[in-house]
C-alpha cells in the first residue's frame, strides 16, 4: 500500500522562516492534482508567503493537526485543526505561522479548467538540498516531467555555476532569459550562486535590459 505519515515524508527546509516542506505529490508521482504537506515548529512559517498569480492555481489548505494563523492579504485568520482555508483567487497573498506543536498543513491546488501540470518550483526546492553536482543531475533527469519554464532553467544555471560548469550555466541562463527576460533579470541581480559567471559577456548580454 502507498502509505506514509506526514512526519515520515522527506523534510526539505524552504526559506529562512523555518518552513518544512513535505513533498507528497512527488513521493507518490501524483499527476492529477497538486498536493503537499507543510510542518513547522511553533512560531515558524507553515505556509510560505506567496501568491499563485504566476500559475493561476486555486488552492485549499487543510490544517491536519495543531493550529495555524493564516494571513490573507493582511487579514489574520485563526485556524485550529480541522479548518479549511480556500483561496479561489490566485492573487491573494497568503502565509501561515504555526501556533502549536505538531502543526501540519495539507495543501491542494490546480488551475481550474485546465489539466494539472506540476509546478516547476518543486524541482528547484528539492534540488536545493543537494550537493551542486547531484542537483544538476537531478534537475537534468527530472525536468521533462514539468512544463518547460524559465524558473527551471534559472535553477539549472545556478546549480551548474556552483558545480563548476560555467559554460553549462551560461547555456541555461540564456535559455531562461529567452523565456522570461524580465523575471530572469530580477532573479539574477542578487543571486550569489551566479557570481562565478557574472562577469562573462554572455551573462551580461542575457540579463541586460
Amino acid at each position: 500500500m502507498n502509505i506514509v505519515h506526514i512526519d515520515e515524508l522527506e523534510l526539505i527546509p524552504v526559506g529562512d522562516r523555518g518552513l518544512q516542506w513535505r513533498p507528497i505529490r512527488m513521493r507518490f508521482g501524483i499527476r492529477a492534482f497538486g498536493t503537499n504537506a507543510y510542518t513547522a515548529d511553533v512560531g515558524n512559517e507553515v505556509v510560505e508567503e506567496h501568491t499563485e498569480g504566476n500559475v493561476g492555481h486555486e488552492e485549499m489548505y487543510v490544517v491536519i493537526s495543531g493550529r495555524a494563523t493564516f494571513t490573507l492579504d493582511g487579514e489574520e485568520v485563526d485556524a485550529p485543526a480541522g479548518t479549511i482555508v480556500h483561496l479561489p483567487d490566485p492573487s491573494v497573498r497568503r502565509a501561515a505561522v504555526a501556533e502549536e506543536p505538531d502543526t501540519r498543513v495539507l495543501a491542494i491546488g490546480a488551475k481550474p479548467g485546465e489539466a494539472f501540470q506540476p509546478s516547476a518550483w518543486e524541482l528547484g526546492f528539492k534540488a536545493s538540498k543537494m550537493e551542486p553536482k547531484e542537483a544538476v543531475s537531478y534537475v537534468e533527469e527530472h525536468m521533462d516531467e514539468y512544463p518547460e519554464s524559465a524558473a527551471t532553467y534559472f535553477n539549472l544555471a545556478c546549480f551548474r555555476a556552483l558545480a563548476g560548469d560555467p559554460e553549462g550555466a551560461l547555456d541555461a541562463i540564456e535559455r531562461a532569459a529567452e523565456m522570461d527576460p524580465d523575471e530572469v533579470r530580477k532573479w539574477s541581480e542578487n543571486d550569489s550562486d551566479l557570481d562565478s559567471i557574472r562577469e562573462d559577456p554572455r551573462f551580461k548580454e542575457a540579463t541586460s535590459a
Binding site: V4, I30, R31, T83
Partner: protein, 211 residues
C-alpha cells in the same frame, strides 16, 4: 476585503451517501481545482464507500482525526491520524473507522484532464435535503448545479433520478430527456439498468424517452 473562504470540517452539514457520512467540502466551498471531500464515522462505521476509480483517476486520502482501517486492493492497513494513503486508478478501496469521530480527507482528479467532477457529491447534498423534508432546498441545489454546468449530462440525469424520488415524474422526464439530448450514448446504459427509474417504466412517456 481579500477573497477567501474559511470553514471547519465540523461546521459543514453532512450527507449520507452509499452507507457513509460525507462531509461535502468541494460543494460547500465551490472548489474548482480537484475533488475534495471528507468522510466521518464512529468506531466500526464505514468511512469510504467501497469503490474502484476509473482509469486515470488518482485519489489520495489523509486521516485528519482518529484512526482508520484501509483496504486497498488486497491489502489492509491500520492508518493513524496524520497519515497519507495514495490509491492509483482502477484499484479497489474502502475504509472504516477504528475510533469514534474519525475523519478522512479525500482528494481526487483525472490525469491529463481538467477537474470536471462534482456530480455525485452535489447529488448527495440534494438527496440529504430531500430525505430531511427540505425538498425545495434540494431542488434548488440541483437547479443551481445545472445552471453552473448546463452541458453536463450527468447533472441532468441525476436531477431526473432525484425527481423520481421526490415524486415529480413530469420534472424527472424533462431532466432525463435533457440528459439524453446531451449525451445519448452515455445515458443509454443507465436508462436500461438504473433501478432508480423503475417507477417511470410503466409511464407512457417512457417509450418516447427510450426509443
Amino acid at each position: 476585503m481579500a477573497e477567501y473562504n474559511v470553514v471547519h470540517l465540523d461546521e459543514i452539514e453532512r450527507a449520507s451517501y452509499l452507507g457513509s457520512n460525507l462531509i461535502p467540502v468541494r460543494y460547500t466551498l465551490g472548489f474548482r481545482a480537484a475533488g475534495t471531500n471528507a468522510w466521518a464515522a464512529d468506531t466500526g462505521g464505514q468511512l469510504i464507500p467501497p469503490h474502484t476509480e476509473d482509469a486515470g483517476s488518482e485519489e489520495m486520502y489523509v486521516v485528519v482525526r482518529g484512526r482508520a482501517k484501509f483496504t486497498v486492493g488486497e491489502e489492509k492497513a491500520d492508518v493513524p491520524a496524520g497519515t497519507v494513503v495514495y490509491v492509483p486508478p482502477e484499484v479497489f478501496r474502502t475504509a472504516e473507522a477504528e475510533e469514534d469521530g474519525t475523519v478522512v480527507f479525500a482528494v481526487g482528479g483525472k490525469i491529463g484532464q481538467p477537474f470536471d467532477g462534482g456530480n455525485w457529491d452535489t447529488y448527495a447534498v440534494a438527496d440529504e435535503l430531500r430525505r430531511g423534508d427540505r425538498v425545495e432546498e434540494g431542488r434548488e441545489v440541483l437547479r443551481q448545479a445545472r445552471e453552473d454546468r448546463p452541458d453536463s449530462w450527468a447533472m441532468a440525469y441525476n436531477s431526473g433520478c432525484w425527481e423520481v424520488f421526490a415524486g415529480n415524474h413530469d420534472a424527472a422526464f424533462e431532466h432525463l430527456r435533457r440528459a439524453r439530448e446531451l449525451n445519448a450514448d452515455a445515458v443509454r446504459p443507465y436508462l436500461d439498468e438504473d433501478s432508480d427509474l423503475d417507477p417511470l417504466r410503466d409511464d407512457p412517456r417512457w417509450e418516447e424517452l427510450t426509443k
